[in-house]
Amino acid sequence: MTTVEQRTGLVGQGVDRVDGPLKVTGAARYPNDFSYPDLAYAALVRSTVAAGRISRLDTAAALASPGVLAVITHQNAPRLERAPDSGLTAPPPPLQDDRITFHGQYVAVVVADSAEEATAAARRVEAEYEPAEPILDMGDPRAEWITDPWGTDSSRGDLKGALASAEVRFEATYTTAANSNSPMGLFSTVAVWDGDDLTIHDSTQWPSYLRKAIAQVFSLPEGNVRVLCPYVGGAFGAGLRAWPHIMLAALAARTVGRPVKLVLTRPEMFTGVGHRTASEQCVKLGATRDGRLVALAHESTTPLQIEGTQFEPCTAGSASAYACPNVITRDRQVRLNIPWCNFMRAPGEAQGNFALESAMDELAYELGMDPLELRLRNYSEDNPRLELPWSSKSLRECYEVGAERFGWSRRSPEPGSMRDGDSLIGYGVAGVSFFWYQEPCEARATLRKDGTAVVRSAVTDIGTGTYTVMTQLSAECLGLDMAHVTFELGDSDLPAGAAAGGSGLTAAVGSAVQAACRNLVRAFLDTVRDDPTSPLQGCTIDEVSVGGGRIHRIDAPESGEAYADILAAHGIGELSADGSSTPNDPKVAGMAPSGAFAARFVEVRVDPDLGLMQVARVVSVVDAGRILNEKTATSQIMGGTVGGIGMAMLEEIVTDPGTGRVANATFGDYLIPVNADIPDMEVAFVGRPDRFNSVGVKGVGEIGLVGIGAAIANAVHHATGRRVRSLPITIEQLF
């Protein structure tokens, strides 16, 4: 077992969150905590059909309601421009015409003196529709199909031939239900105009993009818009788009000439901020008798809303997960009259891994082979799709360490053969090869005359620990105590930040922060270059190191000078430097960029008489490169695991087949796990710093969710002999 190499210092230590005290005392201000004098409130009216046109919209009663300031509909809304695409199409601006494409689409916004008055009046808006027959089923012949939506489909070797001649063949279809991101914090927008300047407090994961989007929607120079989100009450991907309600809050504020607050209701969270699509996937495997994969085909079909795109590759990961010469992966989307599909923690991967890792388990049983052994036998030492070495990969250690900690060797292979009293016990394993993703990012580091530093970037901390790990990293790069460093984020006026998405934020902002800190040290060296009194005179960056609030010579550590002294000696108030990062190019770097890897081991206990299943233990061993903070990283894996248990056992958006209405849009009906559903979770990290970015990290934000579904389903099979190929696994499937 190799452990993560840790440089001396702060990075890696499981220090407490720097924002923890603020959060537990209620001092952290979330978007809906902001108030302004003369604040007005908005409430939304949503369509009650999934397709068709609005035939009549009567707002007279709503307008006459107490406290109402305005009712905006497509009949009186000004023209709004389309937001720029972020790589994904932005939702079209709301209230621009009478077309309805999903149940729950906004048809009006009501603005009033109080939230209660706005809500009451919103009920009085009368809407009538000329409904069309909605397309709600992927089998509907009218539905539009999109093949290879993102150019990620892949093919190598001769799949057909290899399948036909394989000694062992396996094929099955797997399905997963649609899931809701369901962050605790209801998405909220507070919009404030000052002339042509617009300030927006919003639950976004990407203030730099949202600023651009809102500026374009309202035809403003980008500099006129400021997006603030110092704290976000969770998002899990839901905050990656410029949603229509944000535009409506800004429009409402401009219309009534007052600041406006709009807080989505829980039911609106189910239709207004995206969801994880359902999936239908077919996996075909061919193998030799001794368990070498010779053929792998993974095809997926997922629903998509009527307009716009969603990046949800369920099969792409299968192209590089195993060393297999003959592979086809294919994704398709089918347009339905459903609310927007969007990123939810591990989009595509969560669904795709369930299918692939279930199928691998099934193949292992066909071969009479230990499922763990089958995975090791097909381990991909190099990235088989790019035919390049991985930038880092310690998945083998993940399996080995995980098996050891979990006690995998105690497993008796026969399904139904392990019992504890009346409970059937099952062990399941799944491997995870997460995708790599990174965006450009900028940061600025500033040292002040009191010797403290502030480092800034327009990124967000959606609960993941960005404040904390970037404070640690900055402190280490500048040789300061953590107490002397502040990291600022959540403000689009700061240097342009990457999205908190794709598990790519820490690499992106970390590399930018590192560069900014290094440039700042350079700026100090420039300052003293010609200073004969400075022990650092003439030193280059490679000749110095930092620590204890000072820069010193590597060859003579006692020769150095404190930042504060340099500033004082030169009469400088503060010194700043910028840094930026751009993702490496795999071809230039000569390696395949790795995302994180993980092995998930799960024990379930099943009450066979009642079909009740309890996850008893989860052991997760993760290779995420260099771990910046053991504690926050562990929390990310545990939180992801909880999400995975939800996906595997409970979560399912139910759409009414006749109308396309989300039928369970409350937490009373859409069940997410409670504490009593969550077992002991053990998390360990293995691996070395990754070579693809300068910080050496691979993100941990999403991988925690992936693999849990398959590991649970595999464990259920081991416990009961029943193979469940659909998520969530319900009581009815097990009794």
């Binding site: 409970l650 009373g668 009906d669 796990p673 559903d677 009581i731």
Partner: protein
């Protein structure tokens, strides 16, 4: 919407007589949810929280008189010895917050077939003490449930208390939900031994909570009270409980699963109760 806030029981009854349309609100854990979800807007709310008499319970002649305002939390803390079945059921209600507010009287007022207090109330033969300005009456629990979310209260009546016999034998409650807390029962079952009489209660498996009289009669005749439990008797009891139910398919569970699970829960709770019986005998 009018908001009525009586300070005494007498005042509450007068207000209800005057405004039979007023919706009583005790803990509010059902009423507020309905209002939030826009399921009909009451014309008036009659808030009983300030009526001090309701928040008390007394024990008299082997019966607990449980005031309509006693929360689940208090019931669990103070009455688990006297009313073990009801206390077990109370522990499965919602979350600590819900148990701090919610009451058995509210559960009866809502009369949901899935309410968790109903099976133990049925198994123990409880009575509902209903009162109006016209007087007070006792409603046998088996007469109380009148249909899905309907009960036997007259428009001017309020629940003053629930009278539940103090346990003389083992009692068990069992509930199946789709997750481990904060969940509406897919199906539930309660059993109570009182001397050599056996009481049962079925939840979430018919339009109203109900007893399984044939299963009770079968046990009373088939049980050999001194020896170990005959596995065939236990199985037959489960079947008869199952046969007493009339469940439907809904989002929480299928009819088949409800029937199956009732048979299992009946068999299991009987087994547990029997072990206690033998231990105490």
């Amino acid at each position: 919407m009018d908001f009525l806030r009586p300070l005494t029981w007498a005042e509450a009854l007068e207000m209800k007589a005057e405004r039979p349309d007023a919706t009583p609100i005790q803990g509010g854990t059902d009423v507020m949810v309905e209002i939030n979800l826009d399921k009909g807007r009451p014309t008036a709310l009659l808030d009983l929280a300030a009526v001090a008499e309701l928040a008390e319970w007394t024990r008299d002649n082997g019966t607990v008189r449980l005031g309509a305002g006693v929360s689940y939390t208090r019931l669990i803390a103070e009455l688990a010895g006297d009313l073990p079945g009801l206390a077990q059921a109370s522990r499965t209600v919602g979350s600590p917050q819900i148990r701090n507010r919610g009451t058995v009287a509210g559960n009866l007022g809502a009369a949901s077939p899935a309410g968790d207090s109903h099976p133990p109330l049925l198994a123990t033969g409880a009575e509902v003490e209903a009162e109006s300005v016209r007087g007070s009456r006792m409603i046998a629990i088996t007469d109380f449930y009148r249909g899905v979310k309907r009960n036997a209260l007259e428009p001017d009546e309020l629940i003053r208390a629930v009278r539940i016999p103090v346990a003389t034998g083992p009692q068990y409650f069992s509930k199946i939900g789709t997750r481990n807390a904060m969940v509406i029962a897919v199906s539930s079952f309660a059993i109570a031994f009182d001397g050599r009489r056996v009481g049962t209660g079925i939840g979430s498996a018919a339009p109203t909570p109900r007893r399984a009289p044939e299963a009770e009669a079968f046990l009373e005749s088939a049980l050999d009270w001194s020896g170990p439990l005959d596995a065939d008797v236990a199985r037959r009891f489960g079947e008869l409980v199952r046969d007493a139910a009339a469940p439907i398919d809904d989002v929480r569970g299928t009819r088949d699963y409800r029937l199956h699970s009732l048979a299992v829960m009946a068999r299991r709770t009987l087994t547990w109760a029997w072990e206690d019986h033998l231990r105490c005998a």
